[in-house]
Amino acid sequence: MNPEYEKSEGPGWWIMALLVISLVLGLALLLLVGCQPLSPSVRSVEEVPFEMVKVASDQILMVTGDRSYRVLLNIPEQLPENEEFTVSGTVFDADGPVSDEVRVHFDAGMPQHGHGLAIDVDTERSVKGEFLTPGVRFHMKGRWLLTVDIAEGPHFERARAWVSVK
């Protein structure tokens, strides 16, 4: 004896059609949401024009928040992981390279991981706005935030840029 439900009529064609349409729409929406960038977790170059502009393959042009200073940073294009290297650069103000009295400090960190460089570094000033930071070591892969702090008398400004260690 067949069960009762086998004799009953199945769902109408219009119900099936509705189900198919809902499925297609749902998939389309999911695709749309999934493809949308999580702005601004990755900022585009247009948002902060000067920070990510590379002047040469092994240089980065950084600008302080109020654009009082520009920093031309010499840094390897392919950043080594867990190897020491030296970062150097030149700081400019509106009149050219900054004076010898201006203090400069380079540093880096991974804000998403809540840490800085594993070993603190010191920055040595030189003439014509130049500076040198030996002993920089990015000890893990990922996005690193570079900062160059510039102090002149009582005033202090910061330039920052992102790099990626692959």
Binding site: P40, D66, P111, L145, P154, E157
Partner: protein
């Protein structure tokens, strides 16, 4: 014969040697223990086992109508307490509880800030307007009064020190000296109490809060350094590098150390204000024991602590009295019975500092305003929140304790700048004597996702250096930045807490000028932009004043409201032209009509009706006030750890700690009240 003689001599020597050794072996432990005992007599006075059991809640004494300002121990046991209304109470132990005696009025110019019983019935009392008074409580009269030494100062802590007088290399006698901590100039002074002559000073403090002396030890707690610091005779600086503690929540670390009592040669009590606990520390910094935990429900006592400040150790009765000015009470703790289990709160391990709304907050001025920044004093951070939700959501934070750029040592004011582009805010940092500017690189349309990097540091300025190189700004005291207001034309106004004046800077932190030096201001608690001028709240003068950038001064309000004295803590102008302000003493939100001078109570007019003061229209020690373009009034209800928003239609919205919200289901908070 000669050989025998020689043998007996040898035996004699051997016997003597053996006996000597025996005597030494027997006496050595006794002598050693005697030496140990002599070296640590205090352990005989207060055994370690007793100290470990300190912290049993005994009772609570409340002053609901008149906030207690300062306490000190009494030579014959108990403690004295002085209220903001300058009423001096003596509280004595009577069989099984502390009883209040009669009170007497002490004439002071300002709000009492510290007190010490100098001799039986004779008190030294300091006020926040830089005065010291020698008060005879037996005769109810002022014996002597000092107003300082010509430069701004504020006594915040007192102690008595026996200064040894030596002749040659021999100590002959000693003379009692008064030690005073000066908050404005960050120093500890040694004074001759008879002549008022300044004999010595220890400098380099940021925000000293208490002094305690035991034999030759002088220690000072400092909530800027977050340490307990030693002062050595003959030196002119505190020993900051050797200070006990640092900023943090683990045992042995502090968040705003305040009261300090050295109770024996080796042990001291420290009230760890922003960690809401009392710590028992060894002289080398070892954390032996602590008690206290933040109140879980509003106004809760029963051993729970809420911003404990001064402490008094009553050696005779083995009690600790803890002053909590924010709750207007003193809680008394005793020694737990050895058989009694410790309160679970005592063994609770904190993993991080608890986040609180501080005294300051600000809202961005963009057309699509979405940011709220809040000063978090416990962790010395600035929280950045998206305020569009029912309960604002944190999207980033900056700071943490320290001197490096982006860090703070007591952030004391914050405001958003008026400018296009990404919102920027300015933070004043009292401990580091500097201003810092940050930019939140997030458009209002961005998804609410917490990111640790969206807030970028832009610039800072060292105000001590800036003042030194700016004509007219130079003075005996470095600027101590407090409240901040950013004007629409780009100027930035910063209160100098060291002296009642306002520093004006441009948006690059370059000095522009000064304001309010001759306006008769006493203690500026808040400022806000007001077109071509500033609105100023003066907590000590009980005034709301408008300062024009042209130098004009207009008093908007002065004195009490509805017969209740006020302590203005926040001020802003409403779009309808009226001036709104908060009264932290009377727990009210007030509105003054500038033309008529009439002042109305808008919120908090429920005095006596709701003891908890957490109802919908209640406030408890309200602080900062901001009014947005859409006419919403944002009140930082600091004492309730919540925000209150009043819109144009009079509808109220609350957000913050769940137990402090109006409809929270909470039980009876206290027991053992006296």
């Amino acid at each position: 014969m000669a050989m025998n003689k020689s043998l007996s001599k040898t035996r004699l020597i051997e016997s003597v040697t053996e006996i000597s050794l025996l005597v030494i072996l027997i006496l050595a432990p006794i002598l050693a223990s005697g030496q140990l005992w002599a070296a640590t007599p205090d352990l005989a006075d207060i055994p370690v086992e007793t100290l470990e059991r300190l912290g049993l809640f005994h009772s609570v004494l409340e002053w609901p109508e008149d906030a207690p300002a300062t306490i000190c121990g009494l030579s014959q046991g108990g403690f004295a307490l002085l209220t903001e209304a300058q009423q001096l109470w003596t509280v004595r132990w009577n069989e099984s509880q502390f009883d209040r005696g009669e009170s007497q009025s002490v004439p002071l110019k300002g709000k009492p800030s510290c007190m010490l019983e100098w001799d039986k019935g004779i008190f030294v009392i300091g006020s926040d307007l830089g005065e010291l008074v020698l008060w005879d409580a037996r005769e109810s009269k002022v014996l002597r009064r000092w107003d300082g030494w010509g430069s701004p100062w504020e006594p915040v802590a007192l102690s008595q020190y026996e200064d040894p007088i030596t002749a040659g290399n021999k100590k002959e006698t000693s003379v009692s000296r008064l030690l005073v901590a000066d908050r404005i100039q960050g120093r500890v002074l040694k004074l001759d109490i008879d002549s008022g002559v300044l004999l010595h000073s220890w400098n380099g403090f940021i925000d000293p809060t208490a002094i305690s002396v035991f034999e030759d030890q002088i220690r000072v707690s400092d909530r800027g350094w977050h340490r307990v610091i030693s002062c050595m005779p003959g030196e002119d600086q505190g020993r900051f590098d050797q200070g006990l503690g640092d900023h943090g929540a683990a045992p042995g670390l502090f968040a705003g150390p305040w009261g300090l009592e050295i109770i024996s040669r080796n042990w001291m009590l420290v009230s760890d204000r922003d960690n809401h606990r009392i710590q028992v520390l060894g002289r080398h910094g070892m954390a032996m024991h602590h008690w206290g935990l933040h109140s879980l429900i509003p106004r809760e006592s029963n051993g729970r602590l809420h911003y404990p400040e001064e402490i008094v150790f009553d050696r005779d009765n083995m009690h600790v009295a803890v002053l909590e000015p924010s709750e207007r009470r003193v809680q008394v703790f005793s020694v737990r019975d050895p058989e009694m289990a410790a309160d679970p709160a005592e063994s609770w391990q904190r993993v991080d500092l608890v986040s609180h709304f501080g005294e300051s907050w600000a809202i961005d001025h963009g057309d699509e305003s979405f940011l709220l920044v809040v000063v978090e004093p416990d962790s010395e951070r600035i929280s950045i929140l998206d305020h569009r939700q029912q309960s604002p959501t944190e999207i980033d934070d900056v700071g943490g304790h320290g001197t490096k750029v982006t860090r703070f040592r007591t952030p004391s004011g914050v405001d958003f700048m008026h400018r296009p582009g990404y919102p920027r805010f300015v933070v004043s940092d009292r401990g580091n004597r500097r201003l810092q500017m940050f930019e939140v690189r997030r458009p209002p349309s961005a998804l609410v996702v917490r990111e640790p990097w969206i807030t970028a540091f832009i610039r800072s300025v060292d105000l001590s250096q800036l003042a030194a190189m700016t004509p007219g700004w130079n003075s005996d005291v470095d600027p101590i930045p407090g409240a901040v207001a950013c004007l629409k034309d780009g100027q930035i106004a910063v209160v100098d807490q060291g002296q009642p004046r306002i520093l004006l800077l441009n948006d690059q932190f370059r000095a522009l000028g000064l304001l309010g030096e001759t306006a008769g201001l006493k203690k500026i608690s808040a400022i806000s932009e007001d077109g071509n001028g500033l609105l100023v709240a003066d907590s000590s003068a009980q005034k709301i004043v408008r300062l024009g950038l042209d130098g004009s001064v207009k008093v908007i309000h002065s004195g009490s409201v509805d017969g209740v004295s006020v302590q203005p803590a926040g001020v802003a102008r409403h779009a309808d032209g009226s001036i709104w302000w908060t009264d932290s003493k009377g727990h009210r939100l007030l509105k003054t009509n500038e033309d008529s001078g009439e002042t109305l109570v808008i919120l908090g007019d429920t005095v006596g009706e709701n003891r908890m003061k957490t109802g919908e229209r209640d406030l408890y020690r309200p602080a900062a006030l901001r009014i947005t373009k859409d006419g919403k009034v944002w009140i930082l209800d600091q004492g309730n750890h919540r925000g209150v928003v009043l819109d144009k239609e009079g509808v109220l919205k609350h957000f913050g700690s769940a137990t402090y919200l109006p409809n929270a289901k909470i039980g009876t908070p206290t027991k053992g009240e006296s």
